[in-house]
Structures are given as C-alpha cells and as structure tokens.
C-alpha cells in the first residue's frame, strides 16, 4: 500500500472526532446556535429586538433566529438584545427617532402605548388569513387587540397562580392547598407555613413594580371589586378596600411575609422562594423553570389563586407578543419572522424552554404543559382568567409603576389606609384615562 495513502491511528482518531463533532453540531442547533450559521448572501435583514432578563432566553432566541435564517433564503433575522428594564424606553425612543426595529418582543401592556403613538402596523387582515389564526386562544388575541385592530402576535401567554412548597407542607403536616381554596384557607396555610425561628415565611408578597398592584387587585376582584364600572374608575369601592385590607394584613398584622416585602420586586419574590425563605408566592408561569433549578421539580407545585368572600376569583391574563412597527424598514421580513415563530415547532421550543404557556391551543394541549405540576395551577386558572383591566387605557401603563406603586407601598407600611390609597389611586387612574 502506498505510504502516502496510509493513515496513522492518530489521524483516524482525529477524523472520527471531527466527523462526530460535525454530526453533533448538526443535531444540537437548539443548544449551540452558532455552530453552522447560514450564509444569507443577498437576504434582506430583519431587525429583531429582544429584551433579556436571563441568559437562558438569550441562547434560546439565538437558536430561534438561526433556525429562521436556515428555513428560508429571502430574509436574515438579526437579534438585538436589550436589558429588560430598558426595553420599553428603547423602543419608544427608537420610534420617536424614526428608526424602530422591524419586529420586537413586547409585553401586551405596551401595545396600547405604541398604538397611541401610531407606531404599529395593523395586522388584522394578514392575521385573519394566516393558517394558525383559529388555533390561537381567543383571549390571547384579545390582549393584543386595540380598538378592533389586531396589532401583534400573542407569542406566549401568562396568568397568575400560587407557587407552594410541597416538601415542606408535608414536613410540617400542613393541609395542602386545594384548587378551590378560599381566602381563609390561604391565610391558614400561610400562617402554618411561617416559621420565624427557621427564617421561613408563609407568603412572599410583592411590594415593588407594577405587579405589586396587580396581585393586590386580583384579591380585590375576588371580593367583587372592579377597576372600571360603566366606563368610570371604581377601584375605590368598599369591596376593594375590604379585600385590600385583608391582603395587606398578611404583611402588616399576621406577619406571614418577610420584612423585605416593601422593596421586593420580581427578583425578590422569586429568589425568596428559591432560597427557601418563603413557602409560597404569586407569580406567572415564567419562574417555573427557574424554581425547578432552585428548589427541584419534586419540591414545589402551583395552584390557582384563592376564592374570595364574593365567591369569585380572577387571574389576570397577559401575553408576550411579537410586534411589527410601521417605521420598520423590512415589514415583509417582519411578518415572515413573526408568523414563522408562531409555527408549532418554534412556538413549542420557545414556550417549553421558558416554562411559559403557548398561545396556540394545539401546542398548549401537549402533555409537557398539561401534566407538569409546576404549570398545573396556571392551566387550571384559564377558566377564570381575564385580560388585565389595566390594559384598558394606554395612559395607565407607566403611571401604575411611577405613581401607583409608591402609593401602594405607603399603604403597605401603614402611612395610608387601604381606603386612602384606593382613593388616591383612583384619582391617578381617572386623570390618565387616555
């Protein structure tokens, strides 16, 4: 045999290793998005803004974009990551400056604001012709419909539920929360799960950020209150004040919450549960995957919010959307990217990867979502979920955070009574009904 054609053992091993690596790269594109980027010569770019609260999303979205670029040759999506805290401001300033991205990941409570700026493309005709239109949960379409116009794709949906520690509940011999539990049972549970000597509290209440007010409002609704009644702000009703008193007393009187509540935002409540300081908290399904890493899947579960004295309960429904902008340079590319991301496979991968609930019924019905105890509480909350009443006016978006939350904190620390808070809050809402 010719010596030049002979391979040494080392060369054979090297070749095998290289072949293995290439094959693995081909299959593992979800995890390793940059292994074989497609060369999209001549493809027109699609600017996609995505806000990043955690590294996992970053990798997932890189994969999605890569997959989209490989799926066709006309467009090349380029993702622009921005910190979550600045995403809204960056979008608004880019719209004002006349250079918005072609498509962006946007929370539905921003959609009204952008529509108020006449910045969004009316997707109604295209969406209604789109093959997956009827497969998307109608309530999800509602979250992105403003003045009869569909303005975004509801990518994933969220509603609120209660996370609770299954292992500690068993350990302390406490009765586990039922799907149809009541306010009284909620209080009894959180009291029983509060162990100050072990630095454990029954309930991680949120005191900072927009959702601090939203969670409290869900309890008010359970007592028969409403944000709007006959077109007028009615959040300062006696039912609302009564329920708010009950809710705030969890912190003020019953001491079932950690002392950090007034400054606990999203990270505070998620980490409080994850570090074992709290034994229950309210949030959407977005932190389920994180808690699986923190407290392990077998140690927690979720249940719906409790039923109030008015025999009612609600869970506010939100959606994370894909939104295209009028001022975008590649509107056709934006549509292609959005409709592709809503196709069953990428839609499933995104939702499952983040523990969020898919907006498409056929995807949401997969056992990975319906049988997961970490998501059960949210799925069971669908029948009584409603679109957040605070989406009614675009002018309420920023005000909830800048004026509503400081007022809520004043009620939380006893500087205002529940009634005083609600009166002042109603004033803020009434002033900004635009």
């Amino acid at each position: 045999m010719n010596d030049r054609l002979r391979c040494s053992r080392r060369q054979v091993l090297k070749s095998m290793l290289a072949a293995g690596a290439l094959t693995a790269a081909e299959y593992a594109w979800w995890d390793e998005p940059l292994v074989s980027p497609r060369r999209a010569w001549g493809a027109t770019p699609v600017r996609f803004q995505f806000s990043v609260p955690e590294p996992k999303r970053n990798a997932l979205v890189e994969s999605l974009v890569q997959r989209f670029n490989q799926s066709q040759k006309d467009f090349e999506a380029r993702v622009e990551f921005v910190p979550q805290a600045q995403a809204r401001q960056k979008l608004i300033t880019s719209i004002t400056a006349g250079s918005p991205p072609d498509v962006a990941q946007v929370w539905d409570n921003w959609v009204g604001e952008f529509e108020g700026m006449s910045a969004l493309e009316d997707l109604t005709p295209r969406v209604k012709d789109w093959s997956g239109y009827k497969d998307v949960i109608p309530l999800a379409w509602e979250t992105v419909t403003v003045k009869g116009k569909i303005l975004s794709f509801p990518w994933v949906v969220t509603n609120d539920g209660v996370y609770w520690r299954t292992d500690r509940t068993r350990e302390y011999g406490v009765k586990a929360p039922r799907d149809d539990w009541t306010f009284d049972e909620f209080l009894a549970y959180t009291k029983a799960m509060t162990k100050p000597d072990r630095n454990q509290y029954g309930f991680g209440m949120r005191g900072q950020g927009t959702w601090a007010v939203l969670y409290a409002t869900e309890f008010m609704y359970a007592n028969g209150a409403q944000v709007l009644k006959d077109g007028k702000v009615a959040i300062n009703s006696p039912q609302a004040a009564e329920a708010l008193d009950w809710y705030l007393d969890l912190f003020r009187k019953h001491k079932v919450c950690p002392p950090s509540v007034p400054t606990d935002g999203w990270r505070g409540i998620v980490e409080g549960f994850g570090r074992g300081v709290t034994n229950a908290y309210i949030h959407n399904s977005g932190s389920a995957e994180e808690q699986k890493d923190f407290v392990k899947p077998e140690n927690f579960a979720t249940v719906p919010l409790p039923i109030g004295p008015a025999k009612k309960r609600v869970s506010f429904y939100f959606s994370e959307t894909l939104t295209a902008f009028k001022g975008g340079k590649n509107r056709e590319g934006a549509w292609k990217f959005m409709s592709w991301a809503m196709e069953p496979e990428p839609h499933y991968m995104y939702s499952k990867g983040l523990g969020l609930l898919p907006a498409r019924k056929t995807v949401a019905e997969r056992p990975e979502f319906t049988k997961d105890p970490a998501l059960a509480g949210f799925v069971k909350s669908f029948p009584f979920s409603i679109v957040s009443p605070y989406l009614a006016y675009a002018g309420w978006g920023g005000k909830l955070d800048s004026e509503g939350v400081p007022l809520f904190q004043q009620a939380l620390v006893g500087k205002l009574t529940s009634r005083e808070f609600l009166d002042k809050f109603a004033e803020v809402l009434t002033k900004n009904m635009s």
Binding site: I92, M117, Q208, P259, P262, S402, V413
Partner: protein
C-alpha cells in the same frame, strides 16, 4: 562729496493695532475650549430650558405643544417633588458631613508615620475605586433582611432578636443608603485632605511647638486654616456630586419604600425614563440647576471662597 541719506522704507500700517491683534490671538486660543464647553454644557442646558416649556411626553407625540410655564406650575403643586427635595437635603447633608468627618480622621491617621502606611493608604482608596452600581449591589445584599450578612452578624452577636428590614422600612431606608454612601465617599475626602496635609511645611508645626502650642491649638490654628481651600473645594464638589448622584439609591431602593428615599435626581430619572415625560423631567433639571447654582454662590460666599486665610 555729497553724502547720501539712507531713508527707511515706510512700513505698511497693519490693519489692526498691536493690542487688537494680541486680543484676537488670545481669543483664538480660547475658541476651541469655548466651542467644546458651549457644545457640551451650554447647548444641553438651553435645550433643557426649551424642553421644559413644552408638553413633551414621548408616548403622546400628538400632544406635543408649547405650554409656557405650565410644567413649572405643576412642579410647585407636586407633593412628591417637595418630598424629594427635602430627602435630597437629608441625603446630601447626612452623606457629606459624615464623609468629611470620616475622611478627615482617616487623613490625619494616614499622615502619621507607621509601618505599612502605604498599604493602608491603598486600602483606604478601595471603596472609591469600586463603581457605584457595584457598591449598591454589594450593600443591598449586606442589608438583605432574610439572608443578608448584617442581620446575621448582629443576631450572632446577640444585638438583634427580630430581623431588621434595613431598606424596606421607611424610617431606616434613608439612613441605610446614607451609610453606604458614606462608606463610598470617605476615601475621597481622605485622599484630598491627606494631599493638603502633606503640603503644610513641617517648619510651621515646629515653630508652633516652640511657641508652646498644644495638639489642639496646632490643629485649630495651623492645620485647619492651611487646609481651608481644599476643604472648601472638596466639600462644594462633593455636595454637588451627591445632590446629582442617583445610581446608589436607584439600584438599592428605586426611591422607595413609599418614596422614603426618593431624591430629586432619582425622581427626575423616573419622570424621564419611566413616565417618558421629558418636558417635566427637563423642568425638574432646570430647577435643580438653579438650586445648585444658588447653593454654590452662597457656599463660596459664606466660606470666603478658596483664598487662603491671611
């Protein structure tokens, strides 16, 4: 033989006099600085003043219009603004006075000769070197009531029975953020004053000793007057910085709980970046600029400027 007279050729009279040319040359040298300062300081200030006269909310472009002094009227009636102004004074006075006291003590200590002085001088600088946001995150973690180090240490020492929510209690939040700012700002004063101490000639102290001056007399009649220019400049600078310093509070409490730590700079930031109300945020900025200008003039007047005492 007739002698020829040598006549000087007349020199053409220059267009500008010598004095005018000197003046022009001087101004030409100043021009780059004037352009740079004008572009980076004057233009933004004028722009802010102009913005403050408009209803300029980014999310409501259709409502953009000239509204005269309406934003200023709104400011006068804004309870949160007055609260934040009061909080700003507490924040500035608390921070700067304690930073000054700590910094002076550290400077006097580091001025003494002892082994390892260079190491201690370097260590003293550390809090100043760390970026403000990182300082805020570190202290936020230390203050964390449930798993923070401070509560844990106090509990282990038997000084605490119930957990203290340092940043979540409206009464404690401001002292807590001031303490963090003091920790960060002490090195600034320490280094500035140490440099001043090193510049005082040793002979003066020797003469004072010969004249029978004690430690306190030497400090009062020699050290303090000699350091006065540095103290005035360092304190004025630090007061202005602290008044405008939003990072620490923004990260640690976001102005909460219940506006207990809301200072004017965080309030302005919130108006601009949360409410996107650039008109009102510009109004706040203009008013703060005026307050700071008035303060600086008054302060320099009260402290008789930076000239050394005769």
């Amino acid at each position: 033989m007739a002698r020829e007279a040598t006549l000087a050729a007349p020199v053409a009279r220059p267009l500008l006099s010598r004095r005018a040319r000197e003046l022009l040359t001087g101004y030409a040298y100043l021009l780059p600085v004037a352009v740079a300062l004008g572009g980076t300081v004057v233009v933004p200030i004028v722009k802010a003043m102009q913005m403050s006269l408009y209803n300029h909310v980014l999310i409501k472009p259709q409502e953009y219009r000239f509204i005269g002094l309406a934003n200023y009227v709104r400011l006068l009636r804004d309870e949160v603004f007055w609260l934040s102004l009061w909080n700003s004074f507490v924040w500035v006075f608390g921070s700067v006075s304690l930073q000054f006291a700590g910094g002076f003590a550290a400077a006097l200590l580091l001025h003494q000769g002892f082994r390892g002085r260079a190491v201690f001088r370097t260590l003293t600088l550390l809090p100043w070197i760390i970026p403000g946001v990182v300082v805020a995150l570190i202290w936020e973690f230390l203050y964390q009531p449930n798993y923070g180090a401070l509560n844990d240490v106090l509990a282990r020492l038997g000084l605490m029975t119930e957990k203290v929510a340092w940043l979540s209690n409206p009464q404690l939040a401001m002292p807590a953020v001031i303490a963090t700012n003091v920790w960060r700002g002490v090195p600034f004063f320490a280094i500035m004053l140490l440099a001043g101490l090193q510049a005082i000639p040793e002979e003066l102290y020797e003469a004072a000793r010969v004249d029978g001056a004690g430690v306190l007399d030497r400090f009062r009649h020699l050290t303090l007057p000699m350091l006065r220019p540095i103290i005035v400049v360092a304190t004025a600078t630090r007061i202005i910085w602290t008044f405008n310093y939003a990072d620490l509070i923004f990260v640690m409490t976001s102005g909460g709980p219940a506006n207990a730590t809301q200072i004017t700079s965080t309030y302005t930031l919130m108006q601009a970046y949360s409410n996107l109300d650039f008109g009102y945020a510009a109004t706040l900025s203009v008013v703060l600029l005026l307050i700071m200008l008035a303060f600086t003039v008054l302060y320099l007047k009260l402290t008789r400027g930076v000239e050394p005492v005769a």
